[in-house]
């Protein structure tokens, strides 16, 4: 379950050591934008040691490495893969070939470490026009890819448009990424909302992303985590409906019916699948029912 993914600057001890307490489902240790070129070496070591010595139970770890067009990314992987983060976030993914390049090197390191292939997953950060257009190919480029991730700040620069709070300029990219990710059978995460002090704005933005089909949303501020978690959790009505669906299916099966209807609507396979996902999430959040 990754509703919220919180960026932590990779060379700032004060943020890293408290990362697991900030309420997000996952933290993203950032070796890229948050770290100056002169401190890349220090950040790599600090992130590696933070993962080694601090307890991140109950909070997934993701490392944003530097892009494959930089001299840093392989060393980043050498340093952090032994700690087995849950995921690697690959910035500026533009093509399926970018994924394959990173994938091949990750496989090599995994072999060296005696780890099974694809032990550590890959999330493709889509933040260029090229990446958006290639989204489906990127999402299907390797079984290692577990999600797409929209980065709107760099994308709008590439699109030569202004990044606004209303976010109409990224609507196409958002819907395109959701469709591509779902078509490829992977998750999809929305870009952070960058106004740290706008408590209403983050809620509106998260609700919109949820409505479009995003799995979760990234954040650059711990202050946004709680709202994101709330928005991306199933509501009580969602949960109740999911149990109703499953109950209707059970009764239908008992009675040997081929087709089952609930509230005048046919229950088909996608509705059942969604109900199962909702119930699984509710149980993870402690909102599930005991008998189920």
């Amino acid at each position: 379950m990754r509703r919220s993914l919180l960026f932590l600057p990779g060379n700032t001890p004060n943020m890293l050591i408290n990362g697991s307490c900030l309420g997000s489902d996952a933290v993203i240790f950032d070796l890229e934008d948050a770290v100056s070129p002169a401190e890349k070496d220090a950040a790599r070591i600090l992130v590696r040691n933070t993962m080694t010595y601090m307890d991140f139970r109950g909070c997934e770890t993701i490392v944003r490495i530097n892009g494959i067009d930089t001299p840093y990314w392989q060393e980043d992987l050498d340093e952090v893969l032994p700690c087995r983060p849950n995921l690697i976030l690959l910035p500026k993914t533009g093509t399926a070939a970018d994924v394959q390049t990173a994938d091949a090197y990750m496989t090599q390191v995994e072999q060296r470490l005696g780890l099974a292939p694809n032990t550590v997953g890959l999330v493709a950060l889509i933040e260029t026009a090229l990446g958006v257009e290639n989204a489906f190919a990127i999402a299907s480029a390797s079984p290692r890819v577990t999600a797409l991730f929209l980065g709107a700040e760099d994308l709008t620069a590439d699109l030569q448009c202004k990044r606004t709070k209303e976010s109409r300029e990224i609507e196409y990219a958002r819907t395109r990424l959701v469709v591509a990710a779902r078509a490829a059978g992977v998750d999809v995460y929305d870009t952070p909302f960058t106004d740290v002090n706008d408590d209403e704005g983050i809620e509106v933005d998260a609700l919109h992303a949820k409505a479009l089909g995003f799995t979760g949303k990234a954040s650059i501020s711990p202050r946004h985590v709680e709202v994101i978690n709330r928005v991306f959790s199933p509501s009580q009505a969602d949960i109740d409906y999911a149990y109703e669906v499953m109950e209707a299916i059970r009764i239908g099966k008992e009675q040997g019916k081929g087709a089952v209807a609930l509230r005048g609507k046919m229950i088909d396979a996608p509705i059942v699948a969604r109900a199962q996902r909702t119930i699984a999430m509710a149980q993870e959040l402690g909102l599930g029912r005991e008998e189920a």
């Binding site: 700032t12 001890p13 004060n14 050591i17 070496d41 220090a42 070591i45 600090l46 590696r48 040691n49 933070t50 080694t52 010595y53 601090m54």
Partner: protein, 90 residues
């Protein structure tokens, strides 16, 4: 054995961080420690600094550690970074 061939530093003076400086030396590890929690953690900090130097194969160096309440994992990181920045090309 890792030889320190140039002065190097790592870390910052921010809260929860530590600033480590390393210089070439001849007389084993010459360690100078300042810490906001020296009374409570002085010996523990010194031990971890020496442990990391040992793991990195550093036998001779002047090391100055200015600690702002860093956790062990941060101290380990900054010492290791300073060594890597100060050692000869290997």
């Amino acid at each position: 054995m890792t030889e320190i061939v140039r002065s190097a530093s790592a870390g910052t003076m921010e809260s929860s961080d530590v600033y480590v400086e390393i210089e070439p030396g001849q007389a084993g590890i010459e360690l100078r420690l300042e810490s906001v929690v020296k009374g409570q953690f002085g010996p523990a900090i010194e031990e971890v600094v020496r442990e990391v130097l040992d793991q990195c194969g550093v036998e001779n160096a002047k090391v100055s550690v200015r600690d702002r309440g860093a956790l062990d994992c941060v101290i380990r990181s900054r010492v290791e970074t300073a060594v890597k920045r100060g050692r000869g090309n290997t």
